[in-house]
Symmetry: C2
């Protein structure tokens, strides 16, 4: 029986899309929100959309404690506050998968531009803020929430995963690849999130020009799993 | 009859690979180097490798004047000096395609990291340095020189093109797509080069981990040419 996946900020577009996809893949999901009632409501929507989905909704802290690999899908402007609030909830040995992107839109700038983050990237900021013993992995920045949420859409793209230990990235990759059409790629150390987080504004720039929902594929890799 | 393509720094790995590919595509190429003799030597190698290739070699300034769209393929540490030396050679209305990437390797750092460039990107630095009336377009950062130079290798990747005018980007795209297997994508304004230049260290990070020669594809775009 698979461990449940806590999705912190799971009422937002990316988190909700992931909940739908994992729900359909038979993996239990726990949606977190600042507001427990909103989390329960989102869980109800997932259950209604996906026959047999195992999904519950709780306040973020309670949600985070429900599984060993939690996903953080809040907007960048809420990242620090959310991590502060999670300090007591996250536990030694847990993985936190940071999906936030420091778009300039967080401070009313453009979504095709990013903010400079003191630590280098949102993921590195997260690593600085989590309790000792919690490890941050960075992933899922370039997957479009509208495409995830449209269950009739067949996903067809790569997810670049950054982190300092391959074994941690491999555990996250397994969850990502439980969603059909997504391939997880080992993109490097956590510091490489500085680059990978920039793919989101790049794809937004491409989307605007092509009226599309673009994704990334890496070509030229050997066949077979890397993990 | 196609205009010749000047390749400034065409004795380097990327420039040489482009010369081979355009030579095979029947487009005349002018290889530029600081040293005219080295440029002639590289031109001779291209002519020997590709039956019927039209290729000449000149000192950079003389090469740059030979065609309306010049490609700058020098390493980042030589970019400013080269552009200073080209001031008298570049002319009103000319396009300069900047392919340089500010890898930290330029100052003995890692090839998986970049330097911060005051203007935001190497391409924006180039735009500041070229004479009035010369327009910079940014492209070809993520195409591996070893793959270009191996004429038995079938290219299979996208090239992200940044620039402030779509018409300029379209002219550059035509030259890029003259190389079979490359698709040019309108990635945004010149400032988006800040992101696109980061794809090179990202792919280097992926290459190291996968022992591969990785490239980029953008998924989810509508069929047909954008230009």
């Amino acid at each position: 029986m698979a461990d449940p996946i806590p999705i912190i900020g799971g009422t937002g577009a990316l988190g909700y899309g992931l909940a739908l996809r994992w729900g359909r893949a038979g993996i239990p999901v726990v949606i977190g929100s600042r507001d427990a009632a909103r989390a329960e409501e989102a869980a109800g929507k997932v259950a209604a959309a996906v026959n047999g989905a195992e999904v519950e909704g709780f306040e973020n802290g309670e949600a985070a404690a429900r599984g060993p690999i939690a996903f953080l899908t809040v907007p960048f402007r809420a990242q620090s506050e959310t991590l502060n609030n999670l300090r007591a909830a996250l536990t030694d040995g847990q993985l936190l998968v940071d999906c936030t992107v420091p778009l300039a839109a967080a401070v009313s700038g453009k979504a095709t531009r990013t903010l400079g983050v003191w630590q280098g990237s949102a993921a590195q900021q997260a690593q600085e803020m989590v309790p000792d013993g919690v490890t941050v992995v960075s992933a899922l920045h370039s997957v479009g929430a509208p495409m995830l949420s449209d269950l009739d859409h067949e996903m067809d793209e790569d997810v670049l995963v950054c982190g300092d230990k391959k074994a941690d990235k491999a555990r996250v990759a397994e969850l990502i690849e439980a969603i059909p059409g997504l391939r997880a790629i080992n993109a490097g150390a956590l510091e490489t999130a500085r680059i990978v987080e920039q793919l989101t504004p790049l794809l937004i720039s491409i989307n605007v020009r092509h009226k599309a929902h673009a994704g990334i594929r890496i070509t030229g890799l050997p066949d077979g799993s890397d993990w």
